[in-house]
């Protein structure tokens, strides 16, 4: 995949496959093209060059109904992007009603189910502004889940959150990863990656520098840049890893 804005080349030939039930974690320094990559995958920002296949169908070809494709690729945003004029439940059900054509009752039922999965059912009748950042992000995840997409893309879902709210969101993400959801997650939460990633990709300046299992990255990363970057993350996020360990232990 290639993408550039005017003279700035953001993606310079990034390529990967995603199998069903896989969790792919993408990380790298800011400005490395991670968010652009996600927006290419669901064609919000179509790549200039390159192809994307979903179940063997080329969605970058002309004449593809992108709206239909997007119902099959969910997205969770860094800044939640909840619809401010709608209650939590309506944020989740609006896609079901308006895009998938569900009846009001059906949509409500499914939306409640999705809210249940992110433990937000009791907040269904609150407006986004009445919710904490962590709660808003959980509603955002429910909104993506409710459409029952083939893949969900996560664009730095915890980086806009206050530290004490990150745990509840990561917990929900762990749960749905373990339930077998196919995910592409842009994040710096290495604890999350360690716990569920099937593959990690280190992106820098629009190119893949290194890829491998979490084990590979944490035991013996090849490139010096990756090592340095991971070191910095450890300083910044070290405590989060322990939090994931705690979450894991609690479950056991």
């Amino acid at each position: 995949m290639w993408k550039s804005y005017e003279d700035l080349q953001v993606l310079k030939g990034v390529s990967f496959e995603l199998a069903e039930k896989e969790v792919k974690v993408i990380f790298g320094p800011s400005g490395s093209g991670k968010s652009t990559l996600l927006r290419c995958i669901n064609m919000l920002n179509p790549p200039d060059k390159g192809e994307i296949f979903l179940h063997g169908k080329n969605i970058t070809a002309s004449g593809v109904n992108l709206n239909e494709i997007r119902t099959r690729i969910g997205m969770v945003f860094q800044h939640f992007n909840l619809f401010a004029h709608l209650k939590a439940i309506d944020n989740v059900s609006i896609g079901l009603r308006r895009v998938k054509g569900f009846s009001k009752e059906e949509a409500r039922e499914k939306a409640l189910e999705a809210l249940e999965r992110v433990k937000m059912a009791e907040w269904a009748d609150h407006y986004p502004a009445q919710l904490s950042g962590g709660q808003q992000q959980r509603v955002g995840i429910a909104r993506a889940l409710s459409m029952e997409p083939d893949i969900i893309l996560f664009d730095e879902p915890t980086s806009a959150l206050d530290p004490e709210l990150i745990g509840e969101v990561l917990q929900v993400m762990l749960d749905i990863a373990k339930a077998g959801t196919t995910m592409v997650v842009v994040t710096h939460e290495m604890g999350f990656a360690k716990a569920v990633a099937t593959e990690m990709i280190f992106l820098s300046e629009g190119a893949v520098i290194e890829r491998g299992t979490p084990k590979h990255f944490f035991m013996k990363p090849e490139s010096e840049r990756v090592r340095k970057f991971l070191k910095q993350l450890e300083v910044l996020y070290g405590t989060h890893e322990q939090m994931i360990d705690l979450l894991e232990e609690e479950e056991k």
């Binding site: 919000l44 308006r98 407006y127």
Partner: protein, 225 residues
Amino acid sequence: MPDLADILIYIVTKGLAQTLLMTVLGLLIGFVLGIILALMRVYAGKELNWLASGYEKIFRGIPILVLIYIFAFGVPELFWYVDPLQRPLASIIFALGLRSGAYQSQIFRGAILSVNPGQIEAARALGMSGLQTFRHVVLPQALRLAMPSWSNEYSVVIKDSSFAYAVGIVELTRAAYNFSYAFRGFWTVSIGVLAILYFLLTYPITKLFGEHQTKKLKKLGMGGG
């Protein structure tokens, strides 16, 4: 000798209905026009955008009285389908509407642009079409965001409807004028009553929509206050 109640009753019974009629219809025409113009300015190509912004400049710059005279005396043929006696009224409603359209266009344009772009992205990511996104995400929020300025526009139109006085339509201002003319020496009281009437028609509504609605929008986290 007329007392305060007589003056009030006279002005209200003779004039209020016409004033409100002109205001409501003027606002309505302006609303339809304003939405169309705003859509042209935000979403349409260069030419239509230029056209809409030219329209705004022209109708914001012409004094409302001149506009009323253009329609009432310049092109009375424009209202051939209206009963001749009602033509001045029709021309004023038309003038108020066209002028208000220019202002409402600016109001709605600002409101549409202040809907958070992240929400538009989220709607598209859900698989909504551009039209669905506008209909279900942008428009409902834009209309709410526009409310405070829109209530102000109501106040502008109702005040400007007083210019109908100049072409002899009996609305509030003309009624007060006629009353004072009939009972010389009552200018102070009747124009005073007139002013208070207008104030009561505008202030509570702009206050309610302006402050109350702004607070409500803030609570919903819309528009950034």
